[in-house]
């Protein structure tokens, strides 16, 4: 028998923070789990490379050139007698470093420009949007060419080039998210308390607007890994003898007839990382898109 108690304190079940809920949904999604696992594994490999690589990736073993996979060299050796397994292990580094730099630099610039365009509007918005439009007319890889022609070849230069190439896309996404927030009551309230534009933008609008951006950042990571490998393949990225997957695939081309294994392993890990990042982005999109969640599939 239950008594009707008017004054009884009402208890609410605390619902999880939407951001945490989205991460839990991503983690529970098999595709999202796969993506996170691949990414986590490769980050570990990159960090622990000196501990797990059987050889120094740049040391040449004279007389052991172009060996097929075997007990001494698990994935074989390249044309200079370097251990391919160690090179694949160390090759995770430029890929992930570039991806991280692009997310930080490109993501940061994209969010700041998008925030400014969306919140301030007016001429700032007009100027930035026309600038982004014009940048869209430039195929990203050609923009990379321009920047690499200017800065020289190398891993860091590639990261700058890719970061700049992703700013227009991220800036537009950030702008559209900010536009949804800028007229909400809490923004008005913050402005009524006399907060300046900078404070309202960074302390109030930004934290509320940008969480869906994480989907785009995952996509950008995939794009960066692909672009880094492509530019390294063309000889414009990470310079020899430092190993990178793209450059290894480029080196393998001269030996395809007799030593095709050189072209297999770097490609497999690269494709696995890209697949993982694509799946992660898909899972994050599902987790952040309320329509899909409510639809129940």
């Amino acid at each position: 028998m239950r008594r009707h108690a008017v004054a009884a304190p009402t208890t609410f079940r605390k619902s999880p923070h939407p951001l945490n809920a989205a991460f839990v949904r991503t983690w529970r999604n098999p595709l999202g789990f796969f993506g996170l696992a691949i990414l986590g594994l490769l980050v570990l490999i990159a960090l622990a490379a000196p501990l797990i690589a059987p050889y120094d990736p740049v040391v040449q073993h004279p007389g052991r050139e172009l060996l097929a996979p075997g007990p001494d060299f698990l994935l074989g050796t390249d044309e200079l007698g370097r251990d391919l397994l160690s090179r694949v292990i160390y090759g995770t580094r430029p890929s992930l470093v570039v991806a991280l730099m692009v997310v930080v630099l490109g993501g940061g610039l994209g969010i700041i420009t998008g925030l400014a365009a969306g919140y301030l509007g007016g001429w700032v918005n007009a100027l930035l949007m026309r600038f982004f439009d014009a940048m869209f007319a430039f195929p990203p890889i050609l923009l990379g060419f321009v920047i690499i022609a200017a800065l020289g070849q190398g891993t860091t230069q590639v990261a700058y080039a890719i970061a700049l190439a992703v700013v227009p896309t991220l800036g537009r996404v950030a702008r559209s998210l900010v536009l949804k927030e800028r007229n909400r009551d809490y923004v008005l309230a913050a402005r009524c308390t006399g907060a300046r534009n900078g404070r309202v933008m960074f302390l109030h609008v930004l934290p509320n607007a940008v969480s869906p951006m994480i989907v785009n950042l995952a996509l950008v990571m995939g794009f960066s890994v692909l672009a880094e490998a492509s530019l390294a393949f063309l000889g414009l990225g990470t310079q020899p003898p430092t190993p990178s997957w793209g450059a290894m695939l480029n080196e393998s081309r001269a030996y395809l007839r007799n030593d095709p294994w050189m072209a297999i392993c770097p490609g497999v890990v690269l494709a696995l990382l890209l697949l993982g990042l694509n799946y992660l982005a898909d899972a994050l999109r599902d987790a952040f898109d309320p329509r899909r969640v409510n639809a129940g599939f």
Binding site: D133, A137, L142, A150, A229, S252, L256, A271
Partner: protein, 316 residues
């Protein structure tokens, strides 16, 4: 229609201005000084000044840009720093190969994507859709240069069906020309096709729930008629726009695929230019590809307006 074409042409002017300005800047972004590169490491200061004057580098930047545009408009893109040959001649020799490859790849990707998109939309949540979308996600994760290398291993070195690289462009040897085009064009098109077929599927699925499709069904039309005469036509409109946007990634991909298959196009010319620090060549190649991109997008928008009267009448 005339007004629409005019408006669309006017819209391309700022884009044209910005992109040519970026291309123009290439020569000024070089670390150090383009004149120093040209004059060589042991040039005297007088010689350097002379070279700088000859290249017009002692003029203010807007003047240099105006001079450069005037030259470009007359087909004068300067000379290669390395070989001394006119850039326009080098580009003309390479452009047909690049255009042949990109256009073939674009057509192939539509031919592949259309049936796949229709099949996955009509079999949504079935086994066929699952199969197609799994293959698509796998394919989207394979970098095109690696796909090219694997294709060379399988089709050229193991099966010996197709040449591993190079371009045969001979009217008397049509089978040979086609054979040399198959691997590079297919590799280039598949990546685009994977994204495109997804896009076609999503568009079809959205259209399926529109009133006009329900009306068509209610009239008792067959599934085929509803599909091809009603749904597909409307679903194809955004696809055409996407094709224009995708052309940018296709151009980027071309540079890479040309390198994989030793295809003698503009991409290779630019890569050589970057490694030899021959920046006038890089500039010329960039200009050609960017102009190609702008023209294709213009054509796409005009096609769009021809197909859909709402576009040209909407904001008139």
């Amino acid at each position: 229609m005339g007004a629409f074409i005019l408006r669309r042409l006017l819209q391309s002017i700022p884009v044209l201005f910005f992109s040519t300005f970026v291309v123009f800047l290439v020569i000024h972004l070089i670390p150090g000084d383009a004149a120093a590169v040209l004059a060589g490491p042991n040039a005297s200061p007088e010689a350097l000044t002379a070279v700088r004057h000859e290249m017009g580098l002692d003029q203010p930047l807007p003047v240099q840009y105006a001079v450069w545009v005037a030259h470009v408009a007359q087909g004068d893109l300067g000379k290669s720093t390395l070989s001394g040959q006119p850039i326009s001649k080098l580009l003309l020799a390479r452009a047909p190969a690049t255009i042949e490859l990109t256009v073939t790849a674009m057509i192939l990707s539509i031919l592949i994507a259309l049936p796949l998109g229709i099949l996955s939309a009509t079999h949504v949540r079935g086994r066929l859709e699952w199969l197609i979308s799994t293959v698509q996600s796998l394919w989207l994760a394979i970098p095109n240069f690696w796909a090219g290398i694997l294709a060379i291993i399988v089709f050229s070195l193991v099966l010996r069906w197709l040449p591993p690289g190079g371009r045969v462009a001979d009217a008397n040897d049509l089978p040979g020309s086609i054979k040399s085009l198959i691997l590079p064009a297919t590799t280039l098109s598949l990546y685009l096709a994977a994204g495109l077929s997804r896009f076609i599927k999503f568009n079809l699925l959205e259209v399926f729930f529109d009133d006009f499709v329900r009306t068509a069904r209610a009239k008792g039309l067959s599934n085929t008629a509803v599909m091809y005469r009603h749904a597909l036509r409307n679903a194809m409109l955004p696809v055409i726009t996407i094709l224009g946007v995708q052309f940018a990634s296709l151009l980027g991909g071309t540079v890479i695929i040309e390198s994989v298959f030793s295809w003698p196009g503009v991409g290779g010319l630019m890569l050589d230019g970057i490694s030899n620090r021959d920046y006038t060549v890089v500039q010329g190649g960039l200009l050609l590809l960017v102009l190609l991109f702008i023209v294709i997008n213009l054509l796409v928008d005009l096609t769009y307006a021809v197909i859909d009267p709402r576009i040209r009448l909407g904001d008139a």
